[in-house]
Amino acid sequence: MMKDISIGRYVQGNSVLHRLDPRVKVFLFILYMVTIFLANRPIAMVATFAVVLLLALLSKIPVVEVLRSVRPIVFIMVFIFVINIFTIRSGETIFSWWIFTVTMGGLQKAVLMAFRLLLLILATSLLLSLTTTPLKLSDALESLGSPLKVLHVPVNEMAMTISIALRFIPTLVEETDKIMKAQSSRGAEYDTGNIFQRAKGYVAVLVPLFVSAFKRAEELAVAMDARCYQGGVGKTKLHPLRMKGSDYMWMAILSVTAFIPLAVDFLWNMK
């Protein structure tokens, strides 16, 4: 049923990556991102791939799940590949027909760009979406963003907003289902007619959905007031984020691995 819908693609588990403090994961994610963009030579890319493979092993997530997270971007990968291969002209020409010319440099660049995107998605999935619950992620962002409070950025409120949004997704999905059934009982159709008729059909769903969402928001605000909510000031936490020894250890180890591709790149250059 629609109730079981999941947000992101969190896969339950108890691996090293699952247990790692979410702040460390955000930090490592940024580090890997830099590495992926700096690695330029094929050999560095291979090294980066090896590091991502290591993450996959650590996460203990089934290969199928990992591949599933790549699926939505296959189209974009192909698109980037095609654009690059036909537009970049450097080096020896491999193939030429009508207006299409493929060069050695273009091929290299196209493979590199597509591969880079793939690595980026894999790193994001393995570190963040597959092994971290959305709630923990919002906790991490709140904690990492706390220095911004000096600049009067409402960090706590933003985290609260995210977590309430997550909390209400299943409720609103259920409600959408209910309204659609009610409107079909009145003869509304969502699966027939042209695209404009269908879009019009959704007005009958969206208007009540929005009206009810606003009503919910209003009631929730009163309920939060009644439970003494006053923003982040003085608020304690049931599950505060705490760095443990193992968190520091894995942070150190995984940070080092992020530099390996860059070192390989650099050493190759020296030769």
Binding site: M1, K3, P134, L135, S163, I164, L166, R167, P170, T171, E174, E175, K178, I179, K181, A182, Q183, S184, S185, R186, G187, A188, E189, V203, A204, V207, P208, V211, S212, K215, R216, E219, L220, V222, A223, M224, D225, A226, R227, C228, Y229, Q230, V233, G234, K235, T236, K237, L238, H239, P240
Partner: protein, 602 residues
Amino acid sequence: MNPATKDISEYSQSVKAEALVFSYPTNAGTNVVAVDHASFSVNKGEYVAVLGRNGSGKSTLAKMIDLLEFPDEGALSVFELDSSAEENFWSIRSHCGMVFQNPDNQIVGTTVEEDVAFGPENLSVPLPELAQRVEKALGYVGLLEMAERQPSSLSGGQKQKLAIAGVLAMQPQLLILDESTSMLDPKARDEFLQLVGRMRHDKGITVIHITHDMHEAFLADRVLVLEHGKIRLNGTPPEVFSQVEVIRELGLELPKWAELLCEVARIYGIEPEKSAFLSEDCAKEKIRSILQMKLPEGVEREALPSHTVSDQVMLRVSNLSYSYDKKGKKTISDISFDVKKGEIVAVIGHSGSGKTTLISQLNGILRPLEGMVEVWDEEEKKYISTEKNTDIKRIRKHVGLLFQYPEYQLFEETVEKDIKFGPKKMGYDDATCDSLMRKSLPLVGLSEEVLSRSPFELSGGQKRRVAFAGILSMNPDVLILDEPAAGLDPAGQKEIFGYIETLRDQGKSIVLVSHDMDEAARIADRILVLKKGEQKFFGTPDKLFATEHEYLSMRLDCPCLIKTMEDLAKDRPEVDPLVFDVREAAQALVFGNKGPKEVDAL
């Protein structure tokens, strides 16, 4: 330190309100007075029920006590602290807990335990005390095993318990229940009330309970009745409910036993005294003593309205099974029943018994996995089934389905357009749509004045009627109604059931899903009992409740009226206690309702 953790000193009066006034401006530029010079007090440890029609200002009053709204005039002290003094704000609010009507709209946390922690977190309760409070509160309401679950996976009853746990973890002195039980089924409602009773007993918590349920009101030490923001009645339940005329005028109802007492007394032309309303036993005693009296001259058995059911089967369900996932457990299995022209079939069962799944089958929103759903097509003189895609539109023309809380499906700019939505989709021309729309209005007590208004500016009860009219305007032969009166005040409920009876008398066939056993037994010609997706019974109410306590094995509540009648009929062989209507019951007690043969046979 956080100001919210401030303690309060000893007090004996939880609430003292003097001439409170609260008003708010409307879009039209006028001022609505929600609370009008209300004065009352609530003692420490007391249980006070607040009654009144929808929109009588009950919720506003409750919100003022929790300092969620502030009075325009008057003085309010809570825990003997002046509510207008800023330094008392957190002391008052942090010691008041509130549970609202809609379970979904008061849960903040993404997991059960985080939701319970929300209140104490705001009060700066440090670890490890915070974790202890959460665990204790969850244990108290019986949700400890679900601590890490997502709130959306809980049932309605569990969600309200979660709300109570969230309040408990803040260690309140005063608990305000704002129609907290109105969206629960009878079983969940009982559990919730027991929990509240336990909290009063264990922790001495003061309770203010806003409700439409008269049986709940009888549990209270004292009852306040509001009308247009004014306090009309204030006293113990017997004091309040013995003022029968005023109670009815205020749009409230009496418990069945009190209604029966009034009806019997009416036949004898007397007025029962206050003491008779003290409890059900007192009322029964009084009824017995009235029945001993001599009937006044000229009083005869009154004819009661009756209706006939035709033989034409309009909707036929045979061996219907359905499952949401093909391999999984069946949500409903092997259901067979039929509905005749001019008949009401009530579907009863607890939450999760498959009622919603069943009714979604009846107009083809869901299709059978096994079995058949057939609808009589008057024009073609044959049955059409929900099997074929091409017949679905026809079926929806014949079968109108009104889901629970249908006011949430309104979306057009005007009431007129919204009611016409159905007929238009059915392909009628403009003139026909217009006449169908106009015909549907009086059926639910709407006047043509509302047509040009936006459905969103109407009151809750009016919206419900508009939604109802939106189904009736398609002129269906069969109506499927899912809890059509849920959440309305007693007078509003009575009106809705009145419309249903009129529709039946006009020859509509009606399938009615209801939690209210008394109402279901009274109004239905036949009853279908569902339990965990299985059909436990299908037949007349007489048969269901006559079968020596078979309904008890189905874990159904007995209609309150029958309970009272069974006791009163004990030494009266000429009285059959199986009646479902108060008037009929009174007639039975006074004149007997069994034929002479039946009495002789005993």
